[in-house]
Symmetry: C2
Subunit: 413 residues, 2 copies
């Protein structure tokens, strides 16, 4: 087994390209313009939108008496995660022990691994981290008696590791499909030496519309938590965690889970949205509660933009632009043309344009008849699904509304 302090990843000592690099903390001094001083393509983050979204989500959580553990997998960026914590987030969500390990290296002290963990190396790391770091909180999910047995075996008397029973929805992803199954798993956890029952969880965001599937799994979470509470199943913990919520249906989570608890001890309801920070021009724009199902709240603002140069106008009505699948998300929608900056500096809306195909390094853009988009012009696009944008970049500039570079953030995938 590897020593867990020695990850294979992150930074090796083969270092041929350090000469002349710019330290992150000197980026703000440069006065760069993102569209003329950086090699294109670039994906940038708009500071105004980030600040708006941080504030909006913090106010929403505060008003509803719920905690936020934003999903750190979205950005994997210590600088952005630090801003989420500064804005009042209670902790950070991770998808795996590997991600949690990176967050611990960033100094995060409360981490919900919103996933099953049956990897012996991951479990050993979690146990070791809890032993060596007083005040650090880590927990993960469990949805089967077999997982409980494997975890018990891997932990070999270490722990106890706090776990949440995961409820799921039929046709969905992980999670118990019935309250009976949830109770069986909870009972197995209570019998295990290595685990401690700390709460109940679901991820309702595996479906694409709000409705009975979402409401049903949230009711199941509440029902299981209440029933386990009556049995005294949470007697070993100071507070019970009840957590759900991607970025699409957190209004439903609050409706079902915020408040009204009587488990004989405090209940902390935790939302885990990740994509609220940057929002998107795609599914989250369509599904976000803010400004839609919650009309009293302003909408989120889109923070992500990809910019590339027009490389070619090879046929009438077709432009080939210099970004592609290596640069932008494409799994939940293609980039949406927003703005043109002509080679002479003139700007206009990208009216009538559509990205209809991506290659690795190229976008195919359909133009309205007579459009004067020319080789050498710059095209800015909105992006869908932030998670699959961040994982393509090791650093991204943060810009003001005039595209001045204010800062750059690093990612650690």
């Amino acid at each position: 087994m590897i020593a867990l302090d020695e990850p294979l990843d992150h930074r090796d000592r083969w270092a041929p390209i350090t000469a002349g690099e710019v330290p992150l903390d000197r980026v703000p001094d440069r006065g760069w313009h993102a569209l003329s001083d950086l090699m294109l393509p670039v994906v940038l983050l708009r500071e105004t939108a980030l600040r708006h979204n941080l504030d909006l989500m913090a106010r929403f959580c505060s008003q509803h008496g719920v905690s936020l553990a934003p999903h750190g997998k979205t950005t994997m960026s210590p600088q952005l995660i630090a801003r989420q914590l500064e804005a009042g987030a209670w902790g950070v969500t991770a998808a795996s022990p590997a991600q949690a390990r990176i967050f611990r290296a960033f100094g995060v002290r409360t981490i919900v691994i919103a996933n099953q963990v049956v990897d012996p190396l991951g479990l050993a790391w979690m146990a070791a981290e809890l032993e060596r770091s007083p005040g650090v909180r880590l927990c993960c999910l469990v949805d089967s008696e077999r997982a409980v047995a494997l975890m018990d075996e891997a932990l070999a008397g270490r722990g106890p590791l706090p776990v949440l029973v995961e409820m799921g929805l039929a046709g969905g992803r992980t999670g118990c499909r019935s309250l009976e199954a949830g109770h069986r798993v909870a009972a197995a956890v209570r019998r295990s030496r290595a685990l401690r029952l700390a709460g109940v969880e679901c991820f309702e965001g595996v479906v694409s519309e709000p409705g009975e599937q979402v409401d049903g799994v949230l009711r199941a979470v509440r029902s299981l938590a209440e029933s386990l509470g009556r049995e005294g199943a949470f007697d070993q913990v100071d507070e019970v965690l009840v957590t759900a919520g991607g970025s699409a249906f957190f209004d439903r989570v609050v409706e079902h889970l915020a408040g009204g608890w009587d488990l004989g001890r405090p209940v902390r309801v935790v939302l885990r949205s990740g994509c609220y920070l940057t929002h998107d021009h795609g599914a989250y724009e369509r599904l976000s509660p803010f400004g839609g199902r919650l009309p009293d709240w302003e909408p989120l603002q889109q923070a992500l933009e990809a910019w590339g140069l027009v490389h070619s106008r090879p046929e009438p009505g077709l432009a080939i632009v210099g970004f592609g699948k290596r640069d932008v998300s494409y799994d939940m929608g293609l980039p949406r043309p927003l703005r043109v900056r002509h080679a002479d500096g003139r700007q206009r809306a990208a009216t009538g344009m559509e990205v209809f195909r991506l290659n690795d390094q190229h976008a195919y853009v359909r133009l309205a008849p007579g459009d004067d988009l020319a080789v050498g012009d710059r095209l800015g696009c909105g992006l869908a699904h932030p998670c699959t944008v961040f994982d393509k970049w090791r650093s991204m500039p943060v810009v003001d509304d005039g595209y001045r570079v204010l800062d750059a953030v690093r990612t650690y995938f």
Copy 2:
């Protein structure tokens, strides 16, 4: 404008996760087993397949008298690119000046930027690199008179920069759509002060089957090169570059372009395949000439495998495995289950299994009735489209046929 020696990317000085890391050159000493000593998920490279593929492609190029400039965008890995050069590659292909800059940092001396370059910063970097590094060869493509004008303006008397006229196919990507257009662009290049006409190029791999579109654009490349040669258009260069060839149709490239030239000076025919190195379980498996349209040549071998743990068996016939869109390619086919390693170490073929959906961090696997795949088992999958696998990992282990870790390679996206 930024000083081009000071990239924003690669390595900053914010460094909280260096403690305990393993230097790359000590990885071989560890004796790790990739499926039990590394946190999962992992995507690994099989050394036997890499070696086979390197050797096969080198023999093919040698036998046909063509040069190889493998597309470095596929892996962006200095260690793998070094092995391609050691196996006889003439140069390396890049998709952009940003990639070329990274390859130069690795020490690559001959780089074909197989793309239009109209970015003033990219052009300035190319000119500066040619000025300061005698013996370094860089070139890029051009497909419009407007691009020639923009390049001339951006280079402002520097250069001359060698360029290849790009031919394209109707309904395809970049490239001149007719010989007349190609001649017009070549004439503009010859009039420009900053550019030097060095050859002709196409990328025939934008279609999904061999056939008349592929053959047509290759005939156009040959025809344009011969006609320009007769005009004396290459009189300023010592050798003419004629280059084409992704990983799917290089047999057609060789058929049309290898040999038979009479341009009054040497002609170097350059293939640019990138995916041959790892091959795939997808489109390249179906389209690769080796073993198929070239039955006298052995097939390439698949080098890439993703391994993850079974996290959940939430419903009959369904397993949820711990890798997803953050870990594997999904743009040209989903992962293909190959092998199971049960928690007790027993191995078997992944018969009857199908990955039918990916979330960011999860794979949904359909199982045959009665399959005993259990939580805690490991599932290994083949992957389609190598380019969108490498860009998800900063390091990848290289393993022998028994999954012992021989080495780890870094990527620099």
